[in-house]
């Protein structure tokens, strides 16, 4: 059974399809003859051109969900189409807040298995998947065994987004059936945190801080170094949980995956869950006072030293330039 058609769950913000969506579309194009998108929200028609450019022929528009959390509605619409025999060979979903909800709902509703934390896909007669384990030191290869379509939940930054130069996709409505209580969670208010500088997962330089900084106030050094390098400031989960910085700064398994040109880790031990989110960086610099800290096993340049000395000196040196 060759892979004929792939559905990609296409998330979007006000500024268009998310980067992870474009990454998944690029991967899908290399794996199947036909790539279709499942989209929702107010801007689907406006996004049809970009989606087409990335190889989508048809966008199945679930509609503006009027404040409902997307999980149940989007999965419900997809499950109905699959039940009606219009399903694809495989479904790719971004690892994101709503993506995971959609994957879980769809899996249970359509009784389909789901593979998560995918960082690589290989085609052929069937899709095989790659999943990093133990902090990315080993890779598990897996596949679906039952009747498809399989649900593949793919991590950000697993593929390069490459436009294909396709014509705008055609948009067709995909109806949401009555879903009863499952579809009753609704968003009543949105809060957007202010951010300056480049986005954490798109910056060429990421400077991250961990518990080795000692206390919350010292995180300002991380932010200052990031700013001087036109980069973004990241964090380990330890200091996010401690309330020093918002969750949006977290790098790792439960946070962002980053692949900058340079990742500078300051006072971060290098737990497996942190490394899985930054190991793909092109160059890694670490400052840690413990020469046995695991972060040094992935560092291209490791400074065994006190972050309270090295980081201020670095900031001074950068300012002096």
């Amino acid at each position: 059974m060759a892979i004929e058609k792939i559905w990609v769950v296409a998330e979007a913000t006000e500024s268009g399809p998310t980067t992870t969506t474009l990454e998944l579309l690029s991967a899908a194009r290399s794996l199947a003859g036909t790539v279709e998108a499942i989209a929702w929200g107010p801007n689907t028609a406006a996004n049809a051109a970009v989606l087409g450019d990335y190889g989508v022929t048809t966008v199945h528009d679930v509609g503006d969900l009027a404040g409902a959390l997307p999980g149940a509605a989007v999965a419900g619409a997809m499950a109905a189409a699959i039940a009606a025999g219009q399903g694809p060979s495989a479904i790719l979903i971004p690892t994101s807040y709503d993506g995971r909800d959609i994957a879980g709902r769809l899996s249970a509703k359509a009784d389909l298995p789901v593979l998560t934390n995918i960082t690589g896909l290989e085609g052929g007669d069937e899709l095989t998947t790659q999943h990093p384990v133990f902090g990315g030191t080993q890779i598990v290869n897996a596949r679906f065994t039952g009747q498809g379509p399989g649900i593949f939940v793919v991590r950000a930054k697993s593929f390069a987004p490459e436009p294909a130069g396709g014509a705008p996709a055609s948009v067709v409505a995909l109806a949401v059936p009555d879903l009863g209580a499952t579809n009753t969670a609704s968003i009543v208010n949105r809060h957007v945190e202010e951010r300056t500088g480049p986005q954490l997962d798109e910056a060429a330089v990421v400077v991250s801080g961990g518990r080795g900084l000692g206390d919350a106030a010292n995180y300002s050094m991380v932010e200052e170094a990031a700013k001087l390098l036109n980069g973004a400031a990241g964090a380990s989960r330890a200091i996010v949980d401690a309330g020093w910085v918002p969750y949006s700064h977290q790098v790792g398994q439960t946070g962002k995956t980053v692949k900058p040109t340079v990742y500078l880790a300051c006072g971060i031990s290098g737990a497996t869950q942190h490394m899985v989110g930054m190991k793909g960086s092109k160059n890694i610099i670490a400052i840690n006072k413990d020469q046995d800290a695991p972060i040094f096993t992935v560092a291209d340049l490791g400074i065994v030293g006190d972050v309270h000395k090295v980081l201020p000196a670095l900031i001074e040196a950068l300012k002096a330039r």
């Binding site: 913000t13 999980g71 149940a72 994101s96 807040y97 995971r100 909800d101 879980g104 709902r105 899996s107 249970a108 509703k109 389909l112 298995p113 789901v114 998560t116 934390n117 133990f134 030191t137 080993q138 890779i139 598990v140 290869n141 596949r143 065994t145 039952g146 009863g180 209580a181 499952t182 579809n183 009753t184 609704s186 968003i187 208010n189 809060h191 957007v192 330089v205 949006s248 439960t254 040109t261 340079v262 500078l264 160059n283 890694i284 610099i285 020469q291 040094f296 096993t297 291209d300 340049l301 490791g302 400074i303 065994v304 030293g305 000395k309 090295v310 000196a313 670095l314 040196a317 950068l318």
Partner: protein, 254 residues
């Protein structure tokens, strides 16, 4: 208000981890402990039940070999009772099979609210709770950074890419909580003693009328990832910052 908390019992994350030779699933034959991620859910459930002025917190877990040590920890924190599903046929069960089993067990407790973690520390699929909600026909709100109950409505601040959303749903509902949503209490000595005699109902898949079924997925192989080439590790002699500057220069970043 009756609350069910899904608690996973996992191999100690601090101990070396390995995969089963045959199935390549995580080896779970040793002693298991309460997943830290679920300690937040237990605390949340205890606080919500207290605030609602009563009701019971029931734990639901699926684990091999009749394991209860993680459940005892959560009972010592204050949960009233537990349902454990333990069955050889469930070894290496995938997320959907796990969800079917847990959903059937949860049904027995007739909860107003189900609490789980956003993802487990050892499996981290992050899909099991939503699969449970779908099987039970309930709404779900994931990634909660704060949870409140207002009459028959649950109000959640849900983490988003940009910040957070205020989300509501009618009860009964399922919520998944993030680390840090509340500060888990340490079991008191009294709690630990009391936990020893709290009821733990041990069930098999057959008791629940759920066929273990076939997993729809398999691991075909495990390979070593490409290791990064060893870097230069130097002790700071006052020149650490300068070395970083030179390195950044060599990359033409400054």
């Amino acid at each position: 208000m009756n609350v069910v908390v899904c608690v996973k019992q996992i191999p100690d994350p601090a101990a070396p981890q390995s995969l089963e030779p045959g199935t390549h699933t995580l080896a779970r034959s040793g002693k298991l402990i309460l997943d830290d991620s679920d300690a937040y859910g237990v605390e949340m459930a205890l606080q919500l039940a207290e605030q609602a002025g009563g009701g019971e917190v029931t734990l639901v877990s699926m684990a091999p070999n009749g394991e209860t040590s993680g459940l005892r920890t959560a009972l010592a924190m204050g949960a009233a009772k537990a349902i454990l599903v333990s069955d050889d046929s469930l070894k290496g069960a995938d997320a959907l099979t796990t969800a079917k089993i847990l959903a059937a067990a949860i049904k027995r407790a007739e909860p107003d609210l189900i609490v789980a973690a956003t993802e487990s520390s050892d499996g981290y699929t992050g899909t099991t709770p939503v699969q449970i909600a779908e099987i039970l026909g309930l709404p779900s709100i994931t990634f909660a950074k704060s949870v409140a109950i207002d009459g028959s409505t649950i109000k959640v601040d849900r983490q988003t890419e940009a910040g957070y959303d205020e989300v509501t749903a009618p009860l009964p509902a399922l919520v998944t909580v993030t680390a840090g949503v509340v500060e888990p209490r340490y079991p008191s000595f009294k709690g630990i003693m009391a936990a020893k005699s709290k009821p733990v109902d041990v069930l098999t898949a057959a008791d629940l009328g759920v066929g273990a079924g076939a997993n729809g997925q398999e691991i075909t192989s495990v390979v070593d990832a490409e290791a990064r080439a060893a870097g230069e590790i130097v002790v700071d002699e006052g020149d650490g910052a300068q070395r970083i500057v030179s390195y950044l220069e060599s990359l033409k970043l400054i």
